[in-house]
Amino acid sequence: MDNAFLSSLLTALVLGIIISGIYALFAVGLSLLFGVMDIVNVAHGELFTIGAYLAFIGIVLLLLHPLLALVGVIVGSLAIGFGAYFLTIRPLHHRLGRRPKAPVYLVLTLGLSIFLQNIVLAMAGGNFKVIPSYISGTTNFLNLVFVSRYRVFIFLISMAVVMGLFLFLKYTRTGLAIRAVKENSAAAQAVGIKVDQIYLITFGLVGVLAGLSGALLTPIYRVFPTVGAILTIKAFAIIVLGGMGNLVGALIGSFVIGISESIAVMFISTDWKDLVAFAIMIVILIIRPSGIMKGE
């Protein structure tokens, strides 16, 4: 194996690992929402898009320090997540007196997705927005791989947030309650957990995860009103691969898809890159329909 090929392969691997971090941050939220509420959230990408636009407003328009802008994205995304729950899901639950079946959520979130896309389009226009990378320079691994420091930064932040989420779910009282509702909402109610409150918290968390991934990715990709929709479809492939509703599965699925895509473009045109995720998803659905980590 010559040095140039090894360098290309390692570069693809490192870039794949880095993009997997963002995929994980985005897909874990989608999987969490499905696990806790059975919601296949088609509007997840719009939460990503709004996070990206909030970062653009903070960094480019208001000239805030990027970290301060990220705090603003977290607060704004939390509010969007709460708002989405209060304005759509909660009234539906109250009207029906129970949780509806999954297809109702699917149609509801599809409507929400189109609504949010059009709101963003009306407010921000259809032009691409660009946020300059706020961390410059490259990092060198073993003199073979050169990666921008910004990409390393977003990987580290994404992984820290995902690990923080896992620790929160494992060790805190609220995390325990979220896991309880995820496993058995009737039993959770029987032990005194306010299930409605857990749904609200989950929506807020999911909003933050999606919004933050949008904000982190904007300096690499341009922002436009449907940018999140493309990622949503890929996130569905990831969570089907990992096992629907299984968070560790979503994490593993993110790395499988991210690294596979990155290595695949060494051999195929980048135009075909997105097909890799769906090819893997179809194969997994045929040979192991419950996903790598057995989802629901």
Binding site: L176, A177, A180, A186, A187, A190, V191, G192, I193
Partner: protein
């Protein structure tokens, strides 16, 4: 036991299952609730616990009205509920299930003390870190009952503890219920399909029929009275 149910009507949507349940008499340490399928036994437990809202009538516990309260508020008033099936969190450990049973306890030391007490009582101490779903059927039932005891309730509503259990395991579960009774203040209101079993194990029995309470009395009543034997035991 200070549970009073006055002319309660309840059901699922437009379907009324309980048609004026009146239960104001004595409750023993272990009270059985028997009756044919569809008589409304499980519906009554769900209505007492606040899962179902009565359309008419009143429920009082320790002289306080609990009608239309949420399950959480009813738990706080000293009543816990153990469902007929699938009441556990199977992917969580035994200890996590018990932690959830004590979800309303804010004091960490008290919570740990309660967990230790229930683990000892239920002989599950060695399995605290094991996933609840990996326990045997009898142990799962014991764990569910143990979880229902975490808040040291005055009354446990227990829906068919013998459901889907082998006879040996049924004995194991009922022996535990008696042991809990002997050790604490907790009483049980138990819905049971196995009439002979509950007549052996309960101090007092209520029989339901067509959404109302048809009779209440000590188990001996049901064994002696030919009409009751015919109605609820299927024997002449």
């Amino acid at each position: 036991m200070a549970l009073q149910i006055e002319e309660v009507h309840s059901g699922y949507g437009d379907i009324e299952i309980l048609k004026g349940v009146h239960l104001t008499g004595a409750l023993g340490k272990v009270t059985g609730l028997i009756g044919p399928n569809g008589a409304g036994k499980s519906t009554l437990l769900k209505t007492i616990f606040g899962y179902l809202k009565p359309s008419k009538g009143k429920i009082l516990f320790k002289d306080q009205e609990i009608t239309n309260r949420s399950p959480r508020e009813i738990l706080e008033r000293g009543i816990s509920y153990v469902a007929q099936t699938e009441g556990l969190f199977p992917h969580m450990t035994v200890k996590e299930n018990l932690r959830l049973g004590g979800f309303l306890i804010r004091d960490k030391k008290l919570l740990q003390d309660r967990i230790d007490w229930v683990l000892n009582l239920s002989n599950l101490k060695g399995r605290a870190r094991q996933a609840a779903g990996s326990l045997s059927g009898g142990e799962r039932r014991i764990l569910e009952i143990g979880r229902g005891l975490m808040l040291d309730p005055d009354l446990v509503l227990l829906d068919e503890p013998s459901a889907a259990l082998a006879p040996l395991l049924v004995d194991y579960v009922f022996n535990h219920i008696r042991q809990i009774n002997d050790q604490g203040k907790t009483s049980f209101l138990i819905v049971e399909q196995n009439v002979n079993l509950i007549l052996e194990r309960a101090d007092y029995v209520y029989a339901m029929q067509l959404g109302t309470v048809a009779h209440g009395g000590p188990p001996e009543d049901f064994k002696r009275d030919e009409r009751l034997r015919k109605l609820f035991l299927g024997k002449g």
